[in-house]
Subunit: 375 residues, 2 copies
Amino acid sequence: MVPVSSGSGKSLTQLFGEAATNAIEDSGVDKIDSMYVGNMMSGFLQNQEHLGALMATAMGREGVPTYKVEGACASGGVAANAGVKAVLSGLEGIVLVGAVEKMSGYTTPQVTSGLMMAEDKERVAATGVTFVGLNAMIARDYMHKYNVPHEAIAEFPVLCHANALDNPKAQFHKKIAVDDVLRSPLVADPFRLFDCSGIGDGAAALVLTSLENARKFTDSPVEVAASAVATDRISLYQRPDITTFEASRKAVAQAYERAGVSADGVDVLEVHDAFSVLGIMALEDLGFSSKGSGSRLVKDGECARDARLPTNTFGGLKARGHPVGASGVYQIAELASQLSNKAGKCQVPDANVGLAQSVGGIGTTVTVHILKRGD
Amino acid sequence: MVPVSSGSGKSLTQLFGEAATNAIEDSGVDKIDSMYVGNMMSGFLQNQEHLGALMATAMGREGVPTYKVEGACASGGVAANAGVKAVLSGLEGIVLVGAVEKMSGYTTPQVTSGLMMAEDKERVAATGVTFVGLNAMIARDYMHKYNVPHEAIAEFPVLCHANALDNPKAQFHKKIAVDDVLRSPLVADPFRLFDCSGIGDGAAALVLTSLENARKFTDSPVEVAASAVATDRISLYQRPDITTFEASRKAVAQAYERAGVSADGVDVLEVHDAFSVLGIMALEDLGFSSKGSGSRLVKDGECARDARLPTNTFGGLKARGHPVGASGVYQIAELASQLSNKAGKCQVPDANVGLAQSVGGIGTTVTVHILKRGD
């Protein structure tokens, strides 16, 4: 994982190369059979496509099969899913999955327009509504429907900022309180600045292979017990209820079934808290609490690293940072660190099963990965 | 396959939906388990990403796993490769692979800039060289190195235009002669207008499943005997010889091995003739002739539909059209038509094995699919 930063000064190639080279070195493999690059906005912001071959060339790994995989803010999650299928296909034995996004160095209108590529350009983006605006509508509806005050939702970024203090690769190292969230500048009502993840550059990478092969390289392999992707209708106006993400429910149901675990069996959790309310909704949609009561889990301290359900243990999207197309791979890399006891000061005790949820668009594409200790 | 057109007036969603819906209806399946969307330029030209979910929504197929797959002009080819791996993984039983590109309705500078996203933005595109300019350098070097005149290379577009006369979905229905190529307007020396594929909108789609399952739906299934992807260093200046595409040689070697066939066993061929010289080079790099003598095959009539090696039987990129990210899927759909005796007036006799080569960038990403009659 590359440290997330809003002023990295690094190119897409430098960011990706740093993460991918470190992942290959850490894993101990000398050759890779293919490479998948998760990214959302390079065509729009950098006017650069063909990232697969570009990254392979930069790393001196040209020759291998490689392509870019895109699923909006879940691009990293779907790239990981592509990598898992590549290994399962039997065609590629050792697979590199990396994801990169460079968002800094552009104007706010540029980045805002870029993010809206996740929504239907003709019917929704063309109206002028912003990505944060659409998510703010969800927050308003959620607060009203379940009678949850902003103070309760604000517990989520507070948790994330606390966890990020121990993560040297986090974008923000700043302890905040609920009052800080409520008093921060208004972005899109009801969201204030600290309800929203920031703009940053980042890249993260994984090396995937069969569990049997992984054991030849490490004493602490991590098993991908499930990799699931589900989608919903792309736009909020097409859905009967915007306070539940059906794609989350569908993806996690498949993942629990494939992995043979239930919510009770999850020891460490990474959820897609691009906005505060999404973190709370994830706790509910993934089965950890009933609808409307997700914030209670956080307020009661149950999501802290030393509690029952350690959540966003490296700071989550809010505080580790959210380089959009890369976040899904950061989450999986963080879980893998936890499950191999390599999480440093962020380490949670006795974790055997981890779950990562990544979201593309406004709950449109959801990936769920369940990881287990593989030793 | 949607008819390729430079004035379709259709959106990305309309183009894709038409191809995908027809593919599903033709195949007889009622449900699909996932969907892969090949596309290169939507982020740049349409400011639209998240094509997987967008297309699934438009088709009323939301819920399924879906994402966009990009490999420059080989996006369709790599999307097909992703679909093949999805089936082989065992996670997805019936997979839709579609690819779409909308290039019309934009200025020439816009499309030209979009195409250059296939090259390294920082080191090459920033110099101002165009995509056709880089390919013209290859043509000049090829003509010099192998002492092949322009007249010989021009045989390739002549062949394609002849074949397209019988394809109702081709972009161009115009018989041309070598003299027409040589006298057409200069684009980038030595290329003239008829050396170059045009700008068009298009979409094509495939339904993939296990051969065993396919036999339940049709009496004329087509087997994907090999799906191979290989890459080269992204830029021409990084290669010792620009008149051979090493990625073609690597991909086809893998494909021949996996399919258990050699060049001699190929009955029908679709190659990536975005520019005339690329068609000639493909004949050589894929093993059908020695270096420098590919044009002789065409001139001697051996690539005609009733001859030994029917090539670009529906018109190829030059005359069927080259909606860049979609072309790789058009090729495979055309081969499938040939191998199931559904090619209409373009039908070649007694074809059992077909090969499709798609190229992304300047020979950087190459996909090779070998198909066999599956009945």
